[in-house]
Subunit: 494 residues, 2 copies
């Protein structure tokens, strides 16, 4: 094929027959393992899942699907399909209340997986035996498609599935093709390294190729994403952002890796978005420092702000996880950003090797942090799931510097996010370099457990510090490298 030019003249549907969504939905068997596009709540297929849900609600079929998405997806899958009782199993992440409720009452079997290795797990038969992929595109030909607002696990899923259905969404501009850099890693053993040298480099194509024999149906849709809504930054968000910026400045003074090419990653969500916004309002490196680089998972609105200042050389991610306003801004002038934003498959955007090689400073949020630096990102009171661990596990483990940033309280100040012992561990003490709250920075590097506790206590909410102090002082009377009192460790969660 010739490379598409991604002008609005591009024919969105090439030489392939088009069908309606209901017909396409019929090609998904009731017991299918269904792989779907979508990451950061955008770029997911919309019409086919809704048709399956509709047929299930009408009692015309009784699906027991295994649904594997790239990351978080929108309502057609994680609300409509779930509420239609059409989903038996769900991987690797969910962020809608219907899905959360179903996972929590165990009517849907959920396995919470990291992002970097997921395409491999699916491709090499370690998680599921995939049947069919349903993916959203801005254009499709007989053996290629151009993904829409997220790339996610789509290249791996399309390669792994026996059959393929493509939804071509007219609400997604063709110009999105300019952002994609599709590179499919080869299989182990003796797998080659990913040949990426810097966050802004391109190593692949703007389209996903597939075996034309797989293509079962092409459906045309015209339905915008229902993306993240970011709340306005709170005073705590702004104080955390200030503390992070101050920490990064200090690091740049002593660490040439940070000074020479400050490379950041922020987790998905309102706090991450606020941090990006803060960096748009201030020079990270005073004076003539090099521009920032972003090597992360999602492009959020705040990153567009930094791009607009000219202080961000390149942004690498797997999803344009923008708000509706952010989409409007990007879609209005895609060329303005196309040379500095690259969307990669998640197996590349989150690759441990690349996070290491590019020297990422990773900043992710948490549900709770304990006094020794273990982090809970996923569960309340040990049992109730929130969204999933997502890419935080890839970045916090492999980063040059791993920062967990969280407000010191939750629930309007009623609950301390700093606790004696977290009741679910997603990130261990071995991975967390720094904890930041609105009360300051706890640099844990090189500290023994008790030294870590002393530093973390200083950035806990002042109202909870006396209780944390009592716990620590009591626990350390009985000795041990990591002083704990297992009778009281979970008093706060119980």
């Amino acid at each position: 094929m010739t490379t598409p030019t991604f002008s609005e003249d591009l024919q969105r549907v090439g030489d392939v027959p088009v069908t309606d969504a209901a017909t396409a939905a019929a090609s998904v068997n009731d017991d299918a393992t269904l792989l779907v596009s979508g990451f950061g709540s955008v770029g997911d297929p919309k019409a086919v899942p809704l048709e399956i849900a509709k047929a299930a609600e009408a009692g015309e079929r009784d699906p027991e699907l295994t649904v594997v998405s790239g990351g978080s997806v929108g309502d057609p899958i994680d609300t409509a399909l779930i509420q239609a009782d059409a989903v038996a199993r769900r991987y690797p992440y969910q962020a809608r209340s219907a899905a959360r409720t179903a996972v929590d009452d165990r009517s849907v079997a959920f396995a919470d997986r990291g992002i970097a290795g997921l395409s491999d797990e699916v491709r090499f038969g370690r998680l599921v035996d995939p049947d069919i992929a349903v993916v959203e595109a801005v254009a499709v030909g007989h053996d290629w498609l151009v993904p829409s607002t997220s790339l996610g696990q789509t290249p791996g899923y399309v390669a792994a599935a026996d059959e393929l259905v493509v939804e071509v969404n007219a609400a997604q501009p063709v110009a999105l093709g300019q952002f994609h850099d599709v590179y499919l890693t080869d299989a182990p053993p003796n797998r080659d390294p990913i040949p990426l040298s810097a966050p802004g480099d391109r190593i692949g194509d703007p389209f996903v190729r597939f075996d034309s024999e797989k293509l079962r149906a092409v459906v045309q849709t015209n339905e915008p994403d229902d993306p993240y809504k970011f709340r306005e930054p709170t005073a705590a968000d702004r104080a955390i952002a200030d503390n992070v910026v101050q920490f990064l400045r200090t690091e740049a003074d002593r660490d040439p890796v940070v000074a020479d090419a400050p490379t950041l990653q922020f987790g998905v969500g309102s706090l991450g978005n606020a941090l990006m916004g803060a960096l748009a309002d201030t020079e990270l490196l005073n004076g003539d420092g090099p521009p920032l680089r972003y090597f992360g998972e999602v492009i959020q609105d705040g990153l567009l702000d930094i791009l607009d200042t000219g202080r961000l050389a390149a942004a690498s991610a797997t999803s344009l996880a923008l708000s509706a306003d952010g989409q409007e801004r990007l879609f209005a002038e895609p060329e303005r950003y196309a040379d500095r934003i690259v969307l990669r498959p998640s197996a590349v955007s989150n690759a441990p090797a690349l996070i290491d090689r590019t020297g990422v400073v990773a900043i992710n949020t948490a549900v709770a942090v304990d006094i020794y630096g273990h982090v809970n990102s996923t569960h309340l009171n040990a049992t109730h799931v929130l969204n999933g661990v997502g890419g935080s596990v890839d970045f916090l483990r492999n980063a040059h510097c791993s920062i967990v940033a969280t407000p010191a309280t939750a629930a309007d100040g009623d609950v301390s996010t700093v606790v004696p012992m977290v009741s679910h561990v997603d990130h261990t003490e071995h991975d967390i370099d720094v904890v930041v709250t609105e009360h300051g920075v706890a640099d844990l590097r090189g500290c023994s457990p008790v030294e870590r506790a002393e530093r973390i206590l200083r950035i806990a909410d002042p109202a909870f510090r006396p209780d944390l102090r009592r716990y620590l002082d009591h626990a350390r009377t009985s000795g041990g490298h990591v002083p704990h009192d297992l009778d009281r460790a979970f008093d706060w969660q119980r």
Copy 2:
């Protein structure tokens, strides 16, 4: 320099002045950050640490050293120096009772670190500001040295330290030079990938180069390592080994990555050694399958057994962590093994990218596993440290398949290693694919937490299964994705 030939004719000390250990010890300041060679309890410096300990015991000096080793080291550091109260801080691992006691009573500040990233942490100022490296060698020149029985973090530490002391140990054969493949990764950002394609490849030199200005002293010693002692395999060890072998055979039937190039890693210790021995006694892949490959951290005696059968194509590690018998066997005929054993810096042997690219099946042991698949490798009752997390964290996270193998009981059957909730998490549910005990194999891949619990219960010790069943059934009555009762979760540890 010309490449040494590693015959016994090689001049062990080139054109550099030699001094005595007491003089060399004086070049280590009392407040120094001291980097030492050694990994797997072998290849550590012996004379200089003993001289510092002696002077401290005699009240001639009052050291408050920060000691950073590659991995575990022998008695001169982790017994003599510790007992002389000469160590204030210790990283990243310890495996002697004197060190364990000091860490546990917090007279030594210990930070438990993984292995793969440690050289980077030291080189790039994220853990310590290193002053002096003391390393063991089999030969030294004015700007090169040939390490002895372990390579470990030596290349990174020699590069990072301001000053260097070399102990040339006549008890270590010069022929050890044949095993080393020294490759120093460059610095992030924009770091190149490690150019290794297969476990047996060589990409570096047999010697560590250094800036000749750094060399403070060369000391001659003649002191064998005091290496691991492996216990005889128990009945449980043998049953676990049988279960692992059976699982690997099943995997090879369905997974071409395992069938085409079965690549294994085993954790340090008696169980790992027993597993290696079991694989020497049986063909993993019946018939004409390809030979095994080993991409791990340590060469233990059992690996020599497999090498002797001809069924192991190559073994890559960072340490010859052999028993005294194993050393004798290797030292008697180094040429017999030299073309199939490669010792690499730990930053290469444990590199996440290489564990991924070579398709490693990683098999590591545990202190305890909980019913949802979280693993404790390091602490008893949350507080008391054993050795450290070591390389298990590198391999279990990044492997193609991650197996935790443990006897179902400890303390002569009095304690279940399968518990409702582990009281210290070193490896999260996100990383563990399979748990093996003497009672069977629990394949957790794709399972929801409750499904994992059902599988893990089936391989717990039969005497403890009813209690585990009661806990699970009680916890699941109250709902939640990961059913727990925080009032009772630690009943077994309390």
